[in-house]
């Protein structure tokens, strides 16, 4: 047995769970470790600790137990606090649902764009160009005329 195993056995011995044979074996094994043997002897001489702290009589607790039970009863009866005012509620809801709402908006926008674009082929770059640079019929004519003049 190594030191760690012997220490565990010493604890078992002081807990009173070893048989007389096991105790004898432990003492034999401890011969190889004089320091552990010395600890073992000191530990086995320790008095019982159970009587060191006597149990107080039941009467000692009656008032205390009743006080705790009353406090719990009072805590149960107490109103659960004032209802939250509007701004508290808004903040709470915002924190709670802001992310969900943002994700929902992004999802709905994407879905609606996808549905619209599914109807016919749309070149989104051209669409955006047309949106920002509105076509001017007159300028288009002048441009065509200019090209005609230039090449022909």
């Amino acid at each position: 047995m190594n030191r760690t195993e012997l220490i565990i056995r010493i604890t078992d011995a002081s807990d009173g769970i070893l048989t007389p044979d096991e105790l004898r074996q432990l003492e034999t094994d401890l011969q190889q470790y004089p320091d552990l043997m010395s600890d073992y002897k000191a530990i086995m001489k320790l008095p019982e600790l159970d009587p060191v702290y006597p149990q107080a009589g039941q009467a000692h607790f009656t008032g205390r137990i009743a006080a705790i039970q009353n406090q719990i009863a009072a805590a149960n009866r107490a109103p659960q606090g004032e209802p939250p005012v509007f701004y508290e509620l808004s903040l709470l809801w915002f924190k709670k649902y802001a992310l969900a709402a943002s994700l929902l908006i992004v999802a709905l926008t994407s879905v609606s764009t996808w549905l619209q674009s599914g109807e016919e082929y749309v070149d989104s770059a051209v669409m955006m160009d047309e949106f920002f640079y509105l076509a001017d019929e007159n300028e288009a004519d002048a441009y065509v005329m200019y090209l005609d003049e230039f090449y022909f």
């Binding site: 220490i7 565990i8 600890d39 000191a42 320790l46 008095p47 159970d50 039941q58 705790i68 719990i72």
Partner: protein
């Protein structure tokens, strides 16, 4: 335990208060923290959190864990409290003590002082095992320390206790 009613909890208080009181008194001996205050807070906290009690561990070990954490919080708040080793043994007397004789009184008070001087981790194990009579698996539930380590610490605790008593002049022969 999720739907424990007020009456059920009243019963839990009645059944566990005396045993918990003894154990926490042992844990707090030598300090100025009142075990009754700790227990009051323990049961109120337990009532508020009873829904979180899974029932896997025993109710006593669950209550003890709450009480021990409250004691540790209280020790942290009072970290400048006088060292236990410098306190006279009379301060280790309990209100409900009934000694059979003067020799018996002195030995018990010295033993209490020695237990109080143990480091917190060792003191908890000694109290739970030797005074409260819990098993190592139950102590494991409270401390979260595995049984082999607990037995190792128990050895260290008893060794230190023997040395402390020897230094106090207690004859262990």
């Amino acid at each position: 335990m999720g739907n424990t009613g007020k009456n059920d909890f009243d019963k839990i208080v009645e059944e566990n208060y005396p045993r918990l009181h003894r154990s926490i008194s042992a844990y707090l001996t030598g300090s100025s923290v009142d075990p009754d205050d700790i227990l009051q807070e323990t049961f109120l906290k337990a009532w508020k959190n009873i829904g979180g009690f899974k029932g896997g561990s025993g109710i006593y070990t669950w209550l003890y864990s709450i009480a021990r954490n409250l004691c540790i919080d209280e020790f942290r708040k009072r970290k400048y409290e006088k060292q236990i080793s410098s306190k006279p043994v009379e301060e280790f007397e309990l209100a409900w003590d009934q000694f059979t004789g003067q020799d018996n009184r002195e030995e018990i008070l010295l033993l209490r002082k020695a237990i109080s001087e143990l480091p917190e981790l060792l003191k908890t194990i000694v109290i739970l095992k030797s005074i409260d009579g819990l098993t190592y698996p139950e102590i494991e539930e409270i401390t979260g320390v595995n049984q082999q380590t607990l037995k190792n610490r128990m050895f260290r605790a008893r060794k230190e206790l023997a040395e402390l008593l020897k230094n106090m002049g207690v004859d262990l022969s």
